[in-house]
Symmetry: D2
Subunit: 277 residues, 4 copies
């Protein structure tokens, strides 16, 4: 399936400001960029960096006072591995590729070390495998309210366990924490998300199962087969679409995604279904 | 029913130390002290204070370096109000005696303000009344492990919601928090607890229902009709059996309670049952 | 000195709502209400309660859907005890009236149990007395930024120690926590505050020194001799000007205070000075 | 300078247990392993992994019930870059190698996002460069007590800011947090530490300055030129010497380090001095 994604961020820059941007589709084995362009207004020199372990692409640019905008358009081909969930196992720690092990560690927003007893009580007795992570997502969906404004940039999984309200990033952080507590490597992903209403950058998570990363969206708001990943990391701290060092204010933001081929256009969006990366 | 209670605390005092002790049975309408004595070794002058709103009795004494011990024996008559739980209603905020309202406020270990959404989700739909508080206790018993050493003096209900392990004081703090979040005044009580094994000071909570305070023990470890209350307050911060200002180390502690009349002796201990204060 | 104070709260009530209001001047030994009136629109029956230990006055009223407003006017005489700070001692725990001891306990927003080491390090070596509490206020003023919006209703002294920004209630919570950690009873007070700009309900704290409660304002925004106290309690949880049980939205709020006699009118406002209750 | 390092960990294994061990000296540009051996008793097959970005070396082994021990001996050459601190600058975000940027992000134990205001207030006005990080270390040394048992595996920099006590890992977490809050990339390092008394695994931190990572030890307990690094990561979560999946109890632990050449033997240990990696 192919998708056209685009985003545009507008800023009013008040003093020389360094932007580290992460809006381009990640370079992944099963996510090919067929065509893309990044337009800075005014045009500015930029530095690029691709994170080795996740394919996350960063652009750094120095903007002078005035208006500054960054527009991105990408034509992306997704080749999701569409396995039968029942056949996707968890990986024993004895078998796990050790380069994946850091995604078992607790992180800023995912205190998996503190959620272990709860995770064991609630999910420890379930049959291991892809279905267990789906059960984790179901629990989150059923026990946490999706409420804009109920959380902020400081809210962690620890808080969400008590407060029981949040947005997509909080849902993802909770899912990641439960997985790690159970010995399942898990990481955060920001994405262009087909079917998401209203259109926005979305946050989901990936769990390492079988021999690859599988996508999960505990908010059930997006079609998993239409997630074009942007930033992948330990949690939201690693996947900000813009980190601003200086004095600039966002004045506008647009995000969109649409099917780009007949396959995608004709397919029934599988909102809430099991998508597989 | 009548009970004989006793406790003995031994200390090694290293420098002049002020003890504020709270080991005597509280002076309550339905808890009469028939006889008691408090023995300090060495004998020392003491100041007394009874908290107006709860009947909690404090003794202050200044101990010099050396050994210091405080022994208490009390012969206590309990006249519990043994109502049918089904007839005990919650009290609408419009009808609540306003002097009870402070027990709706969050406190150090009971952040009821942060537990509101969870409490509403989990208990908001249950029929109000004594049975709803029993359901709260059941939830705690079923979702939190009783584990010595899993919590410490800093652990609050917020933490226990995530960590899911604790001891009697943590169980009580969680029960208090849920009640307050639902508009039910609730307070902490330390007690001599019949049937508690091993014998120790116990912690339970009281909820204001109908026109009085009712006892609840989410740990299900003690017989509710055999709770001789010592300290009553907003949470454990108000009901320490000893607050030590100086340099002293506890070297021994003994706590006991036994039926003192035929009624008590013959009665089947109602561990886990609904007790009513 | 005499002051005229007034406040007006306007609400849009959407369903039958119980208000517990605390806007009247507290009934205190050194704060006499010479005249006052409370006007509810529409006129409604009300229940009253005065807290024994602090003189805080609560009014409960049940409002039906529509507009609801409460207006208060009071003519208040303050007879502050204007001692020389240098003569006001701390009270040793051995001498402290035991009814004041609960104000040594940690509370929801004042985790004095966790701030002990810092308080000892920073203030433990200072000469005890009124001046030490002034030093505490100076520390807060110098180390915490007064920033509207930097904190919210959940922010506690623990948080403010790290975040270093807040408003009057956060400043008060920090002052209370340090005092309690040092063995000085301290409590929260809401107040009509002369010289406060813009006019609003203010939050300060009281420390028990010598043989009475002394006022402190670490924000240095109000004249201490012009504080007409409204609610007094362990922390902000006990002194909300309005607690709303139901569905109502505040649509307006006005607060004012002005000198009512020649003495007050002629006096130089002692902003930042040591005021004494 | 050359050092001989060794460690031995003994376990009683109760059921089949997977150990992920990190006790070998890291493979770093300026830290060469001249000779080493790792002895498992009983001998067991092992998997190895070296983290790309930090040279941290992990060994995975599956132990069956019984005793299990791992012994490591390494002969290590350190070629520290011994620059004059006054010539080591901070790196502007516009110039920073982007692969280093993740070490600006907050992590589990280093909530740099919450410590920004304090860091700016306390260190923001200091001249940038190596000396500013030294000032950060000085602040930690002067404001936090080194107290065994005052913290635990859950303690984060946020907590240490309030509690003001901890051990080497807490000191490192605070240093990392302040650096990141100021825009200086910083990471955690576990190490064999010359001069540390009693011998143990030590925790220090590295700040990215000039064009490399520089070592800092806010505890002032070790000689910086004698730190043989083992694990390097975002914080202690990434650098455990042993992660245990199963049921095993540690029954013994020995750690040692000693100079292995005349240069090291003759050198005055620079405890508290500026060491440079």
């Amino acid at each position: 399936m192919q998708f056209n994604v685009s985003s545009r961020l507008d800023y009013e820059v008040r003093s020389t400001t360094v932007f580290v941007l992460n809006v381009e589709a990640a370079a992944l084995r099963n996510q090919k960029v067929l065509a893309e362009n990044l337009v800075l207004e005014p045009p500015l020199a930029l530095d690029r960096h691709v994170a080795n372990d996740s394919g996350t692409r960063f652009v750094r640019v120095i903007a002078e006072p005035g208006t500054f905008s960054v527009g991105y358009h990408g034509h992306i081909e997704l080749n999701m591995h569409d396995a039968d969930p029942a056949t996707v196992p968890e990986v024993a720690i004895a078998e796990l590729p050790l380069e994946v092990a850091p995604y078992l560690n607790p992180s800023r927003y995912c205190q998996s070390d503190l959620l272990g007893r709860f995770a064991q009580r609630e999910f420890g007795g379930l049959p291991p495998g892809h279905s267990r992570v789906t059960q984790i997502c179901n629990w989150i969906y059923e026990h946490v309210d999706y409420v804009r404004g109920a959380s902020d940039a400081q809210t962690s999984a620890y808080d969400t366990m008590v407060l029981r309200a949040g947005v997509c990033r909080d849902f993802a952080h909770l899912g990641i924490s439960f997985c790690r507590a159970l010995g399942i490597p898990a990481r955060f992903a920001s994405a262009y998300a087909w079917q998401l209403e209203p259109p926005d950058f979305h946050a989901v998570f990936e769990a390492y199962l079988g021999d690859s990363w599988y996508l999960f969206d505990p908010t059930r708001q997006a079609a998993l087969q239409g997630l074009v990943r942007i930033g992948v990391g330990r949690d939201a701290a690693d996947a900000a679409f813009a980190t601003i060092h200086g004095d600039a204010e966002m004045t506008g933001m647009q995000v969109s995604i649409a099917p780009a081929d007949d396959e995608a256009a004709g397919e029934e969006p599988t909102v809430r279904a099991v998508g597989i990366a």
